[in-house]
């Protein structure tokens, strides 16, 4: 197997005779794998259901909202996000080791995976396709300000832009700035205004 994987590029079989329509290729492979008992259809359904609906940005939003209202929690989150998030029960798939980075008046953080599509699933759900696009992966490390401008994020003069490229099994979670006008909101109300894109660094929050 080691020898094989060393030359994996040459080992890939020729699949060019398969239908060009991806939906047809998926249906054919799924039915073959079910027939071969390599997969159970109810397990496929469960993976879709759990990751599309049960995990998701509502988990990350709870972490962010708590850091806004609880200074002691915020300090611990910025020092050791992994154990702080573990207490909330939302570590998990693709989010076993987490670093939280906080936006402020002088710093804006933005997360990418230039090499593939690493993303904290249990905290933010399944990534949107723009995050996995070649344009985002290629541009954001070189010209983060132009990318933020395209996203409609206005930066004040003197703001430092910090890009985080997810190259290991460590996931970076952006803690967006708490918008003004939210002083009277409770933790639950605050969590409801924290968008997924703001926790990637692709958006700023408005009250």
């Amino acid at each position: 197997m080691a020898e094989k994987s060393k030359h994996a590029a040459h080992d890939h079989p020729d699949l060019s005779h398969l239908p060009s329509d991806a939906a047809l290729r998926v249906r054919a492979l799924e039915s073959l794998l079910i027939e071969k008992r390599l997969v159970r259809p109810e397990t496929i359904d469960e993976y879709v259901e759990k990751f599309e609906h049960e995990v998701g940005p509502h988990n990350g939003a709870r972490v962010v909202a708590r850091s806004w209202i609880d200074p002691e929690f915020r300090t611990r989150l910025l020092e050791d996000a992994t154990s702080t998030i573990e207490e909330m029960g939302v570590l998990g798939a693709q989010a076993s080791d987490v670093v939280a980075v906080e936006n402020s008046e002088s710093v804006h953080n933005l997360v990418v995976c230039t090499l593939c599509s690493c993303y904290p699933w249990t905290l933010l759900g399944i990534p949107p396709s723009w995050y996995k696009s070649y344009a985002y992966r290629s541009r954001v490390v070189r010209e983060p300000r132009a990318v933020l401008q395209d996203f409609g994020v206005e930066l004040n003069e003197n703001v430092e832009v910090r890009v985080w490229d997810s190259t290991a099994e460590v996931r970076y979670l952006v803690v967006p700035e708490r918008p003004t006008g939210t002083e009277k909101m409770n933790e639950q109300e605050l969590a409801a205004i924290v968008s997924r894109d703001s926790m990637i660094g692709a958006a700023r929050l408005e009250a």
Partner: protein, 217 residues
């Protein structure tokens, strides 16, 4: 490997297809690929690093023309063929060969546990060579195999800003050569170090780099 997947800093990919609060799936077949990817019995010696490397090994013209979940489908198809679980003929015909059913242990839905943690950090005896605040230079490496040091960050000077402990080393783990846990650091590089004098002096990119890819600067 120096493949098309290593695209940090490349020009020419056009505008980012950004939409506010974009849904993760566009078509139902993408959901099926997501589920198949995790629900299908993996090869016994499969690793996440191996998955990444198999995707990198796609012919570049396919990598660049396929949609994201088509790449996963390609990975899954080539993996089940490579592991011997199915044959190319079966994939092409969409039908199992007679008397070819061998497995009965495919995972059931109760195995789906998004909040179960897979840890990549390992305890090691070796002391870390670097500390937070150290200046380091990434090595000028161009391995044929898997690595997580992108081209744009090779042979560059940065500063250690975090030590993550020792983590499984993708360079060996992807190739069934063991986990080789190695100290992992987050290194901050100034935009000017990475992109030259026209880059904004206020900006930086930080990435996680294993100790074996670093030397003291």
């Amino acid at each position: 490997m120096d493949g098309v997947h290593d695209m940090g800093g490349m020009h020419g990919f056009g505008p980012i297809p950004y939409e506010v609060n974009q849904e993760p799936f566009h078509d139902d077949w993408e959901r099926r690929v997501w589920g198949l990817m995790f629900a299908t019995t993996p090869p016994e010696d499969g690793t996440l690093d191996g998955v990444r490397h198999n995707l990198e090994n796609m012919p570049p013209h396919l990598y660049l023309s396929y949609r994201y979940f088509e790449r996963w489908l390609y990975h899954l198809t080539t993996t089940v063929i490579a592991s011997g679980a199915v044959t190319l003929d079966e994939v092409l015909s969409g039908k199992a060969a007679p008397n070819s059913l061998t497995r009965t242990d495919a995972a059931g839905p109760e195995s789906v546990a998004p909040y179960s943690v897979t840890q990549y950090r390992r305890e090691v005896d070796a002391a870390p060579r670097f500390s937070v605040g150290d200046k380091v230079r990434t090595k000028n490496l161009h391995p044929r195999g898997h690595t997580r040091l992108p081209r744009y960050a090779r042979d560059k000077i940065g500063e250690v800003i975090l030590h993550h402990g020792a983590h499984v080393l993708p360079d060996t783990n992807a190739h069934h050569k063991g986990e080789c846990p190695t100290h992992l650091y987050c290194i901050k590089f100034s935009a000017r170090e990475l992109w030259g004098s026209e880059a904004d002096p206020r900006d930086s990119t930080s990435l996680d780099v294993w100790e074996c890819h670093l030397e003291r600067a």
